[in-house]
Symmetry: C2
Subunit: 200 residues, 2 copies
């Protein structure tokens, strides 16, 4: 593994188990047994490390419009993939608003990414209707469900913390179960059959 | 107004327009034209001011079990009341996880309050079923809706921020509209009639 990748891996571990404020670049360098100067050769500061980890998380979770799930089963599978990615980078959602408040460039970038994310979710909802998986009596149900998906993707972990619940994979998955329960009233029989077939 | 109340009022204003880190006790004292010593006579530190404001917000928003809304119209009215309270104390939900991470006593207190809050929400849901406003095919719908209410009450404001939307009363109210949309599939005709009568 390159030094750059090793730094990101060590930082991720420290950020997850402690937090981004407590884990300084000196702590990260010490955890790897490299000098602070060597670390700073690769990353100007902690903000640059957070940004690189955010980009890793995005690369592992964001789908292009062409590759968005077009069936209810594919949505389910993608969400279970997200459980693993969100758990791997759990510091990010835990500290989300704090990180954005401390780094204007990250905030601008994140908001733009998030608006694009909501558009992709809305496209998925529309395709689920077109492909016979969702039946919606009024159009604003799709807006509502898109907000539900994005809201829970970003803040379910925070919600767990406010109830004193552990942030482990099972509890992160409960956030996606919550999303699926929100969609349940609108599922067609075709959708219910497909979900039953994959044991969802 | 007592000095203590004036301090809380000035702190609330500064926390809302700036943030709790930037608004030090010296800033708060200066805004009131009192000495830092006078401020510290009333409040040991900023944490004590945050706690007192949290208690004010709770006093304005928390209902006893006996006074919980028992009709869909009363739920709607209570939520519109909450829009005003949440807007008045908007710094609190904006900084929620950060504040909890910096003050172990506040965190312990908040989590206990929040668990109690979820229990009250669950009681309201049960009463709405018993009183003929909600028809739920399976029992876990009430758990799901309780999570939806509490999740959105706490994090809708954060959600607005991640989409670059303004945190004003209209946008905070949209969070309660979101909650109502989540309940819509389960509303009985009695509930729909009552909501239509109050123009909701």
């Amino acid at each position: 593994m390159s030094t750059k990748k090793r730094i990101l891996s060590a930082a991720l571990q420290l950020f997850n188990t402690s937090n981004t404020q407590a884990a300084t670049t000196n702590h990260i360098a010490a955890a790897l047994g490299i000098s602070p100067g060597n670390l700073h050769y690769h990353f100007k500061n902690r903000e640059a490390i957070v940004l690189a980890l955010y980009e890793q998380m995005q690369a592992k979770s964001v789908l292009s419009v062409a590759n968005l799930p077009a069936s209810i089963g594919a949505v389910h599978e993608h969400q279970r993939h997200l459980v693993k990615v969100y758990y791997e980078y759990r510091f990010f959602h835990r500290e989300l608003l704090f990180l954005l408040s401390r780094d204007e460039a990250l905030k601008t970038r994140y908001i733009a990414d998030n608006i694009a994310h909501r558009k992709r979710i809305r496209i998925v909802m529309q395709r689920l209707v077109e492909n016979g998986y969702l039946a919606v009596p009024v159009d604003n149900v799709l807006e509502h469900l898109s907000d539900t998906v994005l809201m829970n993707a970003q803040f379910w972990q925070s919600y767990l913390e406010t109830l004193g619940l552990p942030v482990d994979e099972a509890h992160i998955e409960a956030g996606f179960v919550h999303i699926e329960a929100a969609m349940r009233p609108y599922l067609t029989s075709k959708a219910r059959v497909e979900l039953a077939q994959i044991g969802a």
